[in-house]
Symmetry: C2
Subunit: 109 residues, 2 copies
DNA sequence: TATAATTGGTTACATAAAGTAACTAAGAGA
DNA sequence: TCTCTTAGTTACTTTATGTAACCAATTATA
């Protein structure tokens, strides 16, 4: 019997990226700190799920949350070093998509 | 108003990898063609979902299915060129996980 | 003084996806 | 005939996601 098992670290990492929206949020934040409402618009995610995902990402140390007590209040989400270090992963996905995804059929899986 | 939108090709690519199990299946197949029952055991996915995922991956040209009419029948799943070209993505996820995932807490997100 | 506008969420409910376990089909061998 | 094996499928439960309405704090406007 084959006892080989997938590397637990890899499994943890990919379970993170396999959560819907998480990859897109990180990708979007690579271009700099952004506000809640801006993320909902650009990504096309509901407030309910964005809120949930950002809390998870913060808890995992990938994203930071900064409050600017202006009027109205401004809250910015940004990648931490841990989050930013996913850039090479995102770059490779980008590369792959340029070669293998036909822009004519960029519909959802 | 900011009209910037996430690259549609990237969005398609990441929606593929954001489907639960899909990344793990591709990662596992990087080590060579494998049978249905072996994949369920190694990945820890149910037959129902593995069947569904493999059909999708085949339809998208990432995985091929080969029937060997032996007894009992042997069916092997393998990556196509398109599927195998995701190796750099998987390698980068692997790299990231080695640096940033603490093996002591490799629990699910 | 009341009303409205803005940001950053939350709540309640409907729908879709995933998990679980039992079942099936086809062929070969006892 | 009965059993074994592989490769799935079916029916049902649980969890995740989508949708839309709502709320609190603060300031501007009528």
């Amino acid at each position: 019997m084959d006892t080989s098992v997938i590397c637990p670290r890899f499994e943890t990492a990919i379970s993170l990226l396999s959560q819907r929206w998480t990859g897109l949020i990180i990708y979007q934040l690579l271009s700099g700190p952004q506000r809640f409402s801006h993320l909902t618009e650009v990504i096309g995610i509901s407030g309910r799920l964005l809120s949930e995902r950002l809390k998870n990402l913060e808890a995992q140390g990938l994203v930071s949350r900064t409050v600017y007590p202006e009027t109205p209040v401004r809250i910015e989400y940004a990648l931490t070093e841990k989050g930013f270090s996913l850039k090479p992963v995102m770059d490779e996905i980008q590369n792959w998509s340029q070669v293998w995804i036909d822009p004519a059929e960029t519909t959802k899986v």
